[in-house]
Symmetry: D2
Subunit: 358 residues, 4 copies
């Protein structure tokens, strides 16, 4: 119950600190017989990897997944899949200062308050480095979903004040630039905004949007484990996330029912809705339409400017960010958002298989 496991049937447990020996993940409940494309898993990790472009942290980690169990002759065996990622570029000395003082809007203070002591190196377990293990597990979930024709795709929809409102048809446009915005012109402006913030020693926030396509009607549980509730929890569990909305979201609260309702019609593909304010989910259960959602990320807390704070004894002091950090987290958050969505969908796909008599 310490909260390092995600999912009910497709269960993922992550472990490891930012500057400890290794990160890792155990996936328990992946069905036997899944062909595990290791190149795909590595490619997903590479999308999240630090140092991939000039707008991300320059920490150098190869993030090569080393599988320890659960796979035999290229297929999952039904037993736990464990994999680890070594921490290669540790620089604990960067963190001597934060062992003493609490970085504003970081988790230093709350960890200290909760546990009495903590691993201060790189934020320890609160570091976004933990999400590498999620991306690894999410890649396995994506492979499972692929067998059912389900695909998840996320992109950057906002950086600071630069917005992109579209929904790209496929992921290639998203991956064509370093900020992962499908529109090249908007992407250029986003990159310029990030460059400007970094030059100021400052940081930006933004929004990642996502879509899941090919989800059949029926996924999700009706009351507490509504599909969008689990998606929301998944996204909110990512570092720096401040909000989640799906379908019409917060904007939909200003519509009238007659404007917002999605009328049903019959198509060759079955029952569909003419609009999709529901975001592909009604009553917590997928309705066969695209599942669409948006995730808000705050600006990165580590800035290269002096800030007032206190130390462990409560004495006031000043702290200036050091180390290698992203000036804006959303470009690297795209594969993390996809991974978490894939974990939720894989779990609910399995759960749905036991919802009714065969």
């Amino acid at each position: 119950m310490a909260g390092n496991t995600f999912g009910t049937l497709f269960r993922v447990t992550t472990f490891g600190e930012s500057h400890g020996e290794a990160l890792g993940v155990v996936i328990d409940g992946c069905p036997a017989g899944l062909a595990l494309d290791l190149d795909f898993v590595q490619a997903e990790l590479d999308r999240r990897r630090p140092g991939q472009s000039r707008i991300t942290t320059q920490r150098r980690e190869s993030d090569r997944a080393r599988f320890l169990s659960g796979v035999h002759e290229g297929r999952t065996t039904g037993t736990p899949i464990a994999a680890i990622l070594a921490n290669e570029d540790q620089r604990p000395r960067d963190y001597a200062e934060i062992a003493q003082a609490f970085r504003p809007s970081h988790a230093d203070y709350t960890y200290q308050a909760k546990y009495g002591h903590r691993d201060p190196r790189g934020g320890g377990r609160s570091s976004a480095r933990e999400t590498a293990a999620r991306v690894l597990a999410g890649a396995v979930a994506k492979l499972l979903l692929r067998t059912q024709g389900i695909a998840v795709h996320a992109w950057v929809a906002q950086v600071g004040d630069v917005d992109y409102a579209g929904t790209p048809a496929d992921p290639s446009a998203t991956e064509s630039n370093i900020v992962r915005c499908p529109d090249p012109a908007v992407a250029a402006r986003m990159i310029a905004a990030i460059d400007a913030a970094r030059k100021d020693g400052d940081t930006l926030g933004g929004v990642v949007a996502g879509v899941a396509r090919g989800v059949p009607a029926g996924l999700g549980e009706p009351v507490f484990d509504k599909l969008h509730a689990d998606l929301g929890r998944a996204m909110l569990s990512i570092n720096a996330v401040k909000g989640f909305e799906y379908g019409s979201g917060f904007a939909g609260t200003r519509l009238r029912g007659s404007e917002h309702n999605d009328e049903f019609f019959s198509s060759d593909e079955g029952i569909r809705t003419r609009t999709n304010h529901s975001g592909g989910i009604q009553g917590g259960i997928s309705n066969g339409m695209d599942i669409i959602f948006r995730v808000a990320f705050k600006p990165v807390a580590t800035i290269m400017k002096p800030q007032a704070t206190v130390d462990a004894e409560g004495r006031e002091t000043t702290l200036t960010g050091r180390g290698r950090h992203d000036p804006c987290v959303v470009p690297r958050a795209v594969p993390i958002v996809e991974a978490m969505a894939a974990l939720v969908l894989a779990d609910h796909w399995l759960r749905d298989r036991v919802a009714r008599l065969p």
Copy 2:
């Protein structure tokens, strides 16, 4: 895993359909020795009860809680607390039509797709009536939190296009009017907007905001079960919710890190932050500041206007809303939001008690 249980240590299971015999709830994990103030529980139910004002549904339910177990001589015994609420005002005939056709933006179609058959009376399990059981359980959670000086308070922050941006100091202002907006002038405009929509046979959405006060630093688990992730899931599991944000939320994504960071300082009450963009939670763990959040509700799906839809055989048809429904759900959602927040906090308060050696 069918999703009718909420929480890990303070575990709540709800059951019952809108027009079945009774709703109910089982609370497992409430610590022994808690004085159970039954009048308070009933008062909370009364805040959610249908028919409480002219802007809510006119269904007549007394919603009297009948406790079956877990309480002895006014105190919890540590064994499961079960309580039921009879369904008194059933009018199944109101639902003959929807047994045949799928109401737009309701859960009729998705339940049918998932389960193969369903209880169509009043939406069955997908009815918001299920939330009465949550309010009952939430009242017990509030009593538990009260022993620790923790209180939860929610209010209506938006109805349609009428906004209220404040944070009231205490709940009495909220409860002083039927729309549950702390500002009487804004409340009057909200009520007028609801009246106008109802006159049109239409409905409105809105936003409920909430605050938890008195939460000590240290509640929440660091990775997947972050305090705000569990709060978000809790809120997103309420019928008609489309989004959740805490602290600076979506708006915070447009700030720079230097604007958004909450600097620490020492006060007589311990370490505090000068601003509270963090919304009282850092790294998923409470930091001792007020926990603030907002919940988006879509407009009610049942409108008194004809809408195109399809029936179970996929034939196109038209449906007009019948029965007794709320023209806007947010006034009655206020106690539900509070209940779900209380359940999350009670659970995490218990979880925190085992996080470190005594």
Copy 3:
């Protein structure tokens, strides 16, 4: 985590005290579409009911199940199935004495130690009356298993020193006498032993044996949730149980490997073993053979003789059993053992459906 829920996918939560208002059960995760034969459920409850014969307690309870939710037009809907059983024959005055002193080998002292206070009426939650809710849930599980050709059958294999070593082919012989031993001659001796003990104001223990037939190969999870581990836990959770063994059990520890191993052969029904020391389970997973097990019940703790004990203040005192109690619990334990076995098998049947790709 307070332990009133059993199962992972087929989840059963029971509530209610012996002399409270009602007992009840919520089943979450029963697949939709199961025809719920209410007469069968009631017949199962009747097998456990007090007062059914002269060798059981004379407490009069009709134990009529009242279903509150989860069933529509005779079929399960996939939503939680809740049912309650009223407590009709409460005699709290029988328990005035035990509110003060701890009955030897009962749970009075341990509940007091754990919770600080307790409901002393009839043992409260520790009463075997709680098992009525299990039998109710088990009957639903049996109906689910029946759709797969799986049946569970238990019988009395020992009362005091009277043993029955056979394995009956079908349940009718078991149900032909009040002690539920398939051999009428042995049954008569068992009944005589119970009568003799009761006449002495004393009680007996015994053994219930069980078999599950028609279980396909593949049920059970390999490591911690081995099929027999879950069966064992299920049985050990029944009041008064002191031991569990399956297949060759404790006696098998005295065999050599060459005597104990079950050789495989091919039959028309597939791969089978010539002997069944494995008890139908190998490596925690069913192998298609009959699953056989035995459950040890201690003699009933309530005896009609004075016993030394202490009161809540630790003062030494004497207590003589009162109230209406079974002189030997095993005849009424038979349907409870079956119910728990059915719950385990139903749960593992569901779990197995997600173990591999379809």
Copy 4:
């Protein structure tokens, strides 16, 4: 739900195959602040290690624990503790044969039936090698229990037909000989029996008994998660276990209530019972007396004699055991039994901390 996690608050997940790259374990929920004595952990692993004496398998594994996370400056941090054990002495060629044919009374057939394919090398996940990860986790649990004055001690109580009926006062006698029976004379006979069986190419079973001392009254949950039910499940989840009993166990079923009941009395240490047929647990909750239990192990399935069996196509064939195997598993099972008992007690100690208001 695939069953590789044990515990509710002190949660242990194991992974790894017998001849894969590594075994491992993740402990989630160990309280922060526990001093982690790595030498003690290693000493526990050494007690289970293969090749430790002439009566165990000669496979050579150093079983050095490598901790990856969750510990900082010698203390647990509250984050997941992960550790791995490399597989060093892999001889996959020993297993070419069993990739084709099913070893009698092994898990080859059932894994194949469940998953469709399997890792045949050394039994893959069904190998008792998985228990090394349990011993590692159990050592951490023992350290946690030690802070509360709770200790677990197991020993060999039977090998084949050689019995030892005592309860040793402390573990040193147990560890003084290679068979781990506290009585040297009985130990010698047990060793002789094992030698004789091995000389015949045959194997023996036996019984491991255990005691937990210093357990305070109040541990255990009253209904499904009774302390002995969780202990039983823990033991039954160990490879080769066929039965579990606690307190008077199966033998107690032949006593009368007047003989079996444990009378209470007051002592300087609080309320105690004169006898301990209850085995330290009443109503599923510890009563402060020693917790005593016994675990039945079948004879090892791998024998060096030809046995009839079938291959994956169902063709009849003959198989003779190869590789390096224990002729009797109970000496090495002693630390495994202790580890599983420690995991259960640590979990229930944590659970009890949230059972009542502080």
